[in-house]
Amino acid sequence: MKVGRVIGNVVSTIKHDFFEGERLLMVQLVDNGEDYDGYLICTDVVGAGSDETVLILDEGSSARTIYGIESAPIRSVIVGIIDDIHELDT
C-alpha cells in the first residue's frame, strides 16, 4: 500500500458504468512526509476528505475484491485515513 494526501477531486459525467456513484479523488503520493513526483486518481471506500493523509491500495486484484466485482476496472482505492506515522531515523 502507499501513503498519499488528498489534493482534489475529478468530476466526470461520461464514464465506465463501474464508476457510477463513485467519488474520484486526486491523491498526491507522499514518502517520509515529502511529496514526490506522482499522483493517483483513486476511488474511496472510507469517506476521506480534502487534505487528509490516506492509505492507498494500489493493486488490481485486491481492489476488485474490495468491490466484489470481478470485472471492475479499478486499481487505486483509498482504504484508510492515517492518523499518525512513526518512522525511525535512518
Binding site: 475529478v10 466526470s12 465506465h16 464508476f19 499522483y39 486499481r75
Partner: protein
C-alpha cells in the same frame, strides 16, 4: 488512474479479432497540473465517446482489459471516463 489528453486516433484493419470495433486513441499522460508527462500511449476507448482534445482518465494493464466489453480483451490502456472538471489545490 491517471489523467490524459486525447491527441489523435489510430486505425488498424489487421488486428486481433477480440479488438474488432474498438476505438483506439492516442493519449498523452498528464501530471496533476495538466502538463504533459511521459510518452503517449494508445488506449482503447471504453466509454465510446472520447475524441480529439478531450481531457480523460485512463487505466492500464489488466484493469484496461477488464474495462472493455466483452471483458478481458488484449489491450493495456483504456479510457474509462471523460473529465468535466479537475479541482486540485495548488
Amino acid at each position: 488512474m491517471q489523467l490524459g489528453r486525447v491527441r489523435g486516433s489510430v486505425v488498424a484493419t489487421v488486428k486481433d479479432p477480440a479488438m474488432e470495433g474498438m476505438k483506439l486513441l492516442i493519449v498523452q499522460p498528464l501530471d496533476k497540473s495538466l502538463a504533459d508527462v511521459g510518452e503517449c500511449v494508445v488506449a482503447a476507448d471504453a466509454v465510446h465517446q472520447s475524441g480529439d482534445g478531450d481531457l480523460i482518465y485512463f487505466v492500464a494493464s489488466r484493469e484496461a482489459a477488464e474495462a472493455m466489453q466483452p471483458r478481458f480483451v488484449p489491450v493495456d490502456h483504456a479510457i474509462v471516463g471523460i473529465v468535466d472538471e479537475v479541482d486540485v489545490r495548488p
